[in-house]
């Protein structure tokens, strides 16, 4: 099934290294700062709503997330949030942007081995500079032929990427943790996809069960399980 694969694409955040955990931690911190004004549940919901509203102009990534937290803080507190807390939110963002890169188990071994037999690329979305920073810190750049930071990961974005790589969909395998961004769009254009779930997923990346019906992709527990099938 995978014998015609020429290029393997890897998602980065929560596939190669930890990412969503830092957003969850930031949301918890934000929840504590906002507790005088609302219930944790209400704070979470409002932040998510504002993030989604802002997504078309801010895009994915930490900077847009911080701007949305600041907007939510002003709104939820009815302009009562303290200046100290506004500063604390700016600090949360800077801390996130300066985090070390924590590779997931087995990643380096998988890349090292597969890079001998396939062309490997990274296909990720988010802030350009932040993704480059993480790749740099990860020490993984040497395994990749190409790094593609996409503003979104829809079927159309992938089609353009395959075109650019000059390969047919059936020659491409994508590996990632998001059904919505790394699996479904690929399956829908006739490429291969392997899903490796991460223990936490951002709401916005969740998909309905009926969208997965009759879709051909595999799910693995951990990235090194790929040796059993490739």
């Amino acid at each position: 099934m995978y014998k015609n694969i020429k290029v393997i694409g890897f998602d980065a955040d929560d596939t190669l290294w930890v990412n969503e955990t830092y957003f969850r931690d930031a949301e918890l911190e934000f929840g504590q700062l906002m507790q005088p004004y609302e219930t944790i549940n209400q704070i979470d919901q409002e932040l998510f709503k504002i993030e989604i509203e802002n997504l078309p102009i801010y895009g994915y990534g930490i900077k847009g997330f911080i701007l949305s937290m600041l907007e939510t803080a002003l709104k939820l507190s009815n302009n009562q949030v303290s200046h100290k807390n506004m500063q604390a939110i700016l600090e949360i963002g800077k801390t996130m942007l300066n985090k070390p890169v924590e590779l997931l188990e087995g990643v380096e071994q998988v890349l090292k081995t597969l890079s001998k037999t396939h062309r490997l690329i990274v296909a990720t979305k988010g802030d350009l500079l932040d993704q480059e920073r993480k790749l740099e810190k990860s020490g993984l750049i040497k395994y990749f032929h190409h790094i593609e930071v996409l503003s979104d990961k829809k079927a159309d974005n992938y089609s353009k990427l395959l075109n650019h790589l000059d390969i047919r969909p059936e020659e491409f395998l994508m590996i990632g943790n998001s059904l919505k961004s790394d699996i479904l769009p690929l399956v829908n254009i006739g490429a291969h996809a392997i899903h490796i779930p991460f223990h936490t997923t951002w709401q916005h990346e969740e998909v309905h069960h009926h969208d997965l019906k009759n879709k051909k992709y595999r799910t693995l527990d951990k990235i090194s399980d790929i040796f059993a099938i490739l």
Copy 2:
């Protein structure tokens, strides 16, 4: 001199369309909001200082600019800035991100004509999503073979780009408004460069006169002057 050129790279902001003017307008607005706390001169200096400090983590673009304005507002006002003004700063950012694209004079004609004889690319820095949005709105995408959004525009970034395009430096001509980002790094790696000044330049993009000594590049008044030399 230009007869071996295979690929022409265009900077985007202030070369293809107006950009810096919107940042200047935003700074003026910010200055008015902060006037109760400091002199305009002091406000400008402090904002610039904080922007430069944040550049390594925020990178170029509107979102980092807004985050730096918010930080400056808290600092300059000694935490006295009103919530209304914090909201106003967030709004300045959204307005910038939603601005229509205003093409500079002669741009479309130049791209239309040169695209018949050369491969044209865009090489720009800033927020990925924001640059894609502007290209989309500009109606210019059809003239370009490739769009490259770079996190920075140093010699090294350009060398990688030329490598990726599979051409030698002497086969590449870059056209842009920033001596620091569009001209000097190219000249230093042996590529061609044409400078078309825009009426306003961000301080950070300015270069010292001695850096320009003996550097080979041309300066044109406006983009359509290129027809006289290519």
